[in-house]
Amino acid sequence: MSSAQGIGASIKRKEDRRFLLGKGQYTDDITLPDQSYAVLIRSPYAAALIKKIDAAAALAAPGVLAVLTGDDVAADGLGGIPCGWAVKNKDGSNMVEPPHPGLAHGKARHVGDPVAMVVASSKALAKAAAKLVDIDYDVLPGCGRLPEATAEGAPLVWDQAPGNVCFDWHIGDAALTDAAFAKAAHVVELDLVNNRVAPNAMEPRAANGHYAAANDHYTLYTTSQNPHLTRLLLAAFTLHVSEHKLRVIAPDVGGGFGSKIFHYAEELLVLWASRRVGRPVKWTADRSEAFISDAHGRDHISKAQLAMDKDGKFLGLRVHTLANMGAYLSTFAPAVPTYLYATLLSGPYDFPAIYAEVKAIFTNTVAVDAYRGAGRPEATYLLERLVEKAARETGIDRVELRRRNLIQPSQFPYQTQVALQYDIGDYQATLDLALAKIDYAGYAQRHAASAANGKLRGIGMSTYIEACGIAPSALVGALGARAGLYEAANVRIHPTGSVTVFTGTHSHGQGHETTFAQLIADRLGVSTDNVEIVHGDTDRIPFGMGTYGSRSASVGGSAIVKALDKIVDKGKKIAAHLLEASVADIEFRDGAYRVVGTDRQKAFGEVAFAAYVPHNYPIDTVEPGLEESAFYDPKNFTFPGGTHFVEVEIDPETGVVEVVDVAIADDVGVIINPMIVDGQAHGGLAQGIGQALYEEVQYDADGQLSNGSYMTYCMPRAADLPMFKVGNHVTACTHNPLGVKGVGEVGAIGVPPAVINAVLDALAPLGVKDISMPATPEKVWRAIAAAKQGKGA
């Protein structure tokens, strides 16, 4: 049984049936008795003083229960939304950490900043009444973009942040890096932008708050990736009620990609409003509201320099990055362009010297925080564009240049110049596998065939690494995290041998109900049909930190394995008693306890039954029951890596880029369910290709958003993408019991530079040297036209 359903088996997902039957329960699907509805009125301006809010007409409208403003938030003593990570400046001083009230108070600081909330007995009535609220704004100049926000005299988002600087941070060794550049035979320089994108989980955010006055208890249904973190922040910082009076439920959640990690104001507001109006209050974002209220991702501007010796061996890397934080600091925002970005700048390469400076900048835009990959895609994009440029400038073949610089298997554990220690990997093996999958040797033929059809063909690659399995608590604590990042599990064996697992991670598409059940099948020999995984409800699950940073299998799965070890050990004592043998002689395998060297055995189910019906039982030394909990704090990050190849065809007449082939080889560690792992890679690839070719949130210099809907923000569609060729080469993680690394983010991390490198490869014969993401038809067409003109001149 364990081989058919255990680790390595592509069993079908247990959760699918309810979704396929339309019986999933997403937050907006839940309607409570006496439900009321909230609509938020948001600032249409990037920066404006809120002079007066006249709610009289709205309050008189039918069905209206309340109109609440920033004054009410302040009067009721609600706390501001906290930031979960503190980054220090170069000089050791603290970053600027401005207040973030649940509703804007006195001043609105971005388009979409919530200014007032209308609660009514129906959504339609709340929407109608919202139109009657008269808000008098004094519009101020705003700044919506990098680098304009850093210019002399730019409008200030916060008076306490001169130059709009949130922090000015660095990592690495400047002197060592200067010395490396001094002896370089060749230096490659590149300026690049990592475009701002909107996460766009298909389920818009929603929150339904219910205060029960009779027992002074709050329940929140919310679209969250981590209900316990939300509960902790509500309790300790925003709502100010103790955890035992607060239950947070993240039911089925329709995708997250990072954007549902954070504690958002609406979660606080619906609970607070429920207390005020005496009815449950539900808020659900429209898509256009999601664009102006969900935290966005990326948004960097960087200068990078690579120093090489005459043979192309990397000597040093120097990076300067501006990172947009938005107007308020979201939960993990400061960590993204620092500890999740600059620490990854060594990539899979052996770099003797690195120095990176990161300046985080406030702008009058919605917050920027973690989005699938979070920092690691930015690092990979920078490095792989730079390495590609180096290959072009030196004339060394792109594959060969990478081979000369990849960390060798014998070098692990490998200490980088930017704080991380990679435990294991085999970057040559994934490179070789990817070369085979793309049929690199046959490329010239494909190129010729495209040319014969009047198309420009290009091939691009990236060799990447990422750090996930977030994270060792003590280490991240030393780096500024204000929370621990362990995971928790409780495994309950029922008297007749079926199993319920309570996990602190959260599944919003990842398939934990299946993969975690496989861990049980593998270890205990219990069919996955007899296992249920419970997640997402703080009243049922142990205190865990949720799902992001590809942590669920490596951290959450390890917690489950630890709990299983305790179960197996306790079972041994019971089995020894039942089999009248000594514990040392009992082994557990294939779902049964055996006396070593004999055919005497007790099935796991028999031992479980004995634990709950302890008539013949070692009651003096072993407690009845079979249920164990474990917390697991990882010893290190995990380090997936690999090689991604992309081939594109460009129509020189229209500038349209078609992705014709994608072949990747990843090392994501031990694989629990190959079908699910491939699916995770596919999804990440689509988002990465989306960033490279289609997606960009566009703010103008003043902070107005010009593309906040699906009419204007280009999402990747089925016809934009090819079938993906996905391969894996496994090196087992050395420091967690499963050997797993993580797969949720690899696609979004590895592929964007491969796409752009392919586009540039296709356009190189025309003389095009640079193009920025997203490489839209217009941009490509203009680049071709400009290159032609340049040549003609």
Partner: protein, 158 residues
């Protein structure tokens, strides 16, 4: 508010709703058929797709009153009792869903494709899905699911 009768999943339902109520809102809020989802406000995502007289329709683009004389099927009405519709089964078989939010729309949309074209090519499937967004799967396994279902409906091994 006017009272209208809607025939949904082979049953008649009498509901009170405003003339301006969208079909999707009546399905979700009044009939509590929450398997039909809302993913956008510009009729682009397809999460709200249902069948109206056998054709896939985005239920956010139709007023409830317009649907009065029609036979409406939602995702809840697609399976035959406990037996999944072949398209639902193919989505499970091929891992064509992750978070499940786009899934009802994907299934409702592609069942119409296969009923019209029992042997759609990969480009035809991708083109057909132009009105359905998925953020999780990269469409790879959705395309495979549709191919698998179509093969099964032609009598091949699914």
């Amino acid at each position: 508010m006017p009272t209208i009768t809607l025939r949904v999943n082979r049953k008649n339902h009498t509901v009170e709703c405003a003339n301006s109520s969208l079909l999707v809102d009546v399905l979700r809020e009044q009939l509590r058929l929450t398997g039909t989802h809302v993913g956008c406000d510009t009729s682009q995502c397809g999460a709200c797709t249902v069948h109206v007289d056998g054709h896939s329709v985005k239920s956010c683009t139709m007023l409830a009153v317009e649907a009065q004389d029609a036979e409406i099927t939602t995702i809840e009405g697609l399976a035959d009792g406990n037996t999944l519709h072949p398209m639902q089964a193919a989505f499970q078989e091929c891992h064509g869903l992750q978070c499940g939010f786009c899934t009802s729309g994907m299934v409702m949309s592609t069942t119409e494709l296969v009923s019209r074209n029992p042997d759609p090519s990969e480009p035809e499937i991708r083109h057909w899905l132009e009105g359905n967004l998925c953020r999780c799967t990269g469409y790879h396994n959705i395309v495979r699911a549709v191919q698998t279902c179509a093969r099964g409906s032609r009598g091949g091994t699914p």
